[in-house]
Symmetry: C2
Subunit: 303 residues, 2 copies
């Protein structure tokens, strides 16, 4: 059982209160697959340029990530430059260069079309729908991320692909913009009417909220004393959440709750160093130790 | 075992997206005592004016709230006028009239000086310290709330009273201003150096975080589809939290966690109607039902 992920592999220039870094391997599908592959074999569909070198490829190849869908083209990879304020709350985009990503039209390798689980990362909704149509059979579930740019500019196309989606993962402002509801319970009911059965709202330092029938489950971010770089935390969360869910092979409420905890723990590694620095080095023991600590934190014993 | 609470009883004029109300019974000690008294007999120390009528008194007298410390003076009660934006996130103060509260100098009735538990609501820090000194014996614990006005203007006096405090309850911006630390774990360590052993950070719709040795515990607000008026939610939380803690008579981590859940559930009633409208009517069954639902929400079963 594999998890197929479509999204961006990019290079980031980052400015944070603690320092700057250039040319870091980034992109939503990078963080997602590095995270998800701890739980389930992951298949990556993305496009990179000539600046994607053997060292970058090796980062993925160290993990159970199938790169048959990673296309390399002449030119430069998607590049993003962002800065964070003192509180590290919000990224300010300083520059975006789509480069080879501008013409990205994902074509699934034959070996990917049977995947049991499908994650449609944040790309143009019509391309997301096209990926769904390329699957040889309906996946056991389809999950989708999107952003305000598509919610504003491609609402109709987004509505089309949402009909095929089981799990919607977005942040708080995105779900409000998508549903035109401020209240998250009302927003959830609107999302249900679009197609998805499960809504996961990412809230940065306030963690995440899972909503599905008979369940509203919130967790805060894993508490850390030092946060270096929040880039990729949301994508790492998504990878941990969906990777765990695929590993469990179930979508009942206990499984969904455990998946939220797993995503939260994975994201806590990412923010500890710049880029994928810490995420690349996560070992099973790190994950087990922090998961155990997190379970203890949230557990409420009977009196 | 009683819980003694010192604070304000006031009248509020409120403007919300859903409507306006004038002359509502309010004030931190009102919400606090109506909430805490569900769990432990509560003693109230506050000052009101001639506008505090028999009907207002009856609101308290319906509950196990001892009003021996409620002093009535000529003139008008403390009055606050506030408005909320569409998202109900933050109250904007339109007018504050201290009236009889300006000269408030709490004097504890003899019968209150033996109280086992003491809550110092948000009043001038030197008055909070004076209340501590009026106790016949050290309470089993002392809890304190404060606000940015005192953190900025009376930092030295606040530092003095904090030495006597076991539990600090403040909101997120307040703890950051008090400790000059943005990171909440760092802020917690600073708070420890001031005196308190337990820090509870109120975060509005994002709920609350409890921090004490070996424990970081976060819960979101109880999810509601309709929120009418957030006034008093934080004070209701404090009353439920400290009332439950006093009722349990313990301060270990399981007790503190349960108290956070209780405070959260109590606050969820307050926001459902204007002022104390809903809080006044809470029955044991309401509390039990919602507490049970909340426990189910946050509980993570083994897989």
């Amino acid at each position: 059982m594999s998890l197929l992920a479509v999204g961006s592999v990019a290079f980031d220039d980052l400015e944070t209160p603690g320092g700057s870094r250039q040319n870091l391997l980034g992109g939503s599908a990078t963080y997602f697959s590095l995270s998800a592959s701890h739980f389930v074999p992951t298949q990556l569909v993305a496009v990179v340029g000539a600046d994607f070198l053997a060292d970058h490829r090796a980062v993925f190849e160290k993990r159970p990530i199938d790169l048959a869908g990673l296309i390399q083209k002449p030119g430069r990879s998607f590049r993003w430059k962002g800065s964070y304020d003192d509180e590290l709350n919000e990224a300010k985009t300083l520059d975006t260069q789509l480069n080879v990503f501008a013409d990205f039209h994902p074509i699934l390798p034959e070996s990917f079309r049977q995947s049991a689980y499908l994650f449609l990362g944040n790309i143009e909704p019509s391309l997301q729908l096209d990926v769904v149509h390329q699957m040889a059979k309906p996946p056991r579930w389809v999950a989708l991320d999107t952003m305000n740019y598509w919610i504003k500019g491609s609402r109709q196309e987004l509505a089309e692909v949402l009909k095929e989606v089981d799990i919607l993962l977005v942040n708080e402002t995105e779900v409000r913009e998508l549903t035109l509801e401020h209240n998250l319970l009302k927003a959830y009911r609107r999302v249900l009417s679009f197609g998805p059965k499960v809504l996961v709202i990412k809230r940065g330092e306030y963690g995440a909220v899972l909503m599905t029938e008979g369940c509203v489950f919130s967790v805060s971010a894993y508490p850390l004393e030092v946060i270096v770089d929040p880039t990729g935390a949301g994508d790492t969360f998504a990878g941990g959440f969906l990777g765990k869910l695929a590993q469990l092979g179930r979508m009942d409420i206990p499984a969904l709750k455990h998946a939220v905890l797993t995503g939260t723990v994975m994201a806590s590694f990412t923010v500890e160093q710049f880029g994928t620095g810490r995420l690349e080095k996560v070992q099973k023991k790190d994950l087990d130790d922090r998961s155990k600590a997190f379970f203890n934190m949230i557990r409420v014993d009977d009196l």
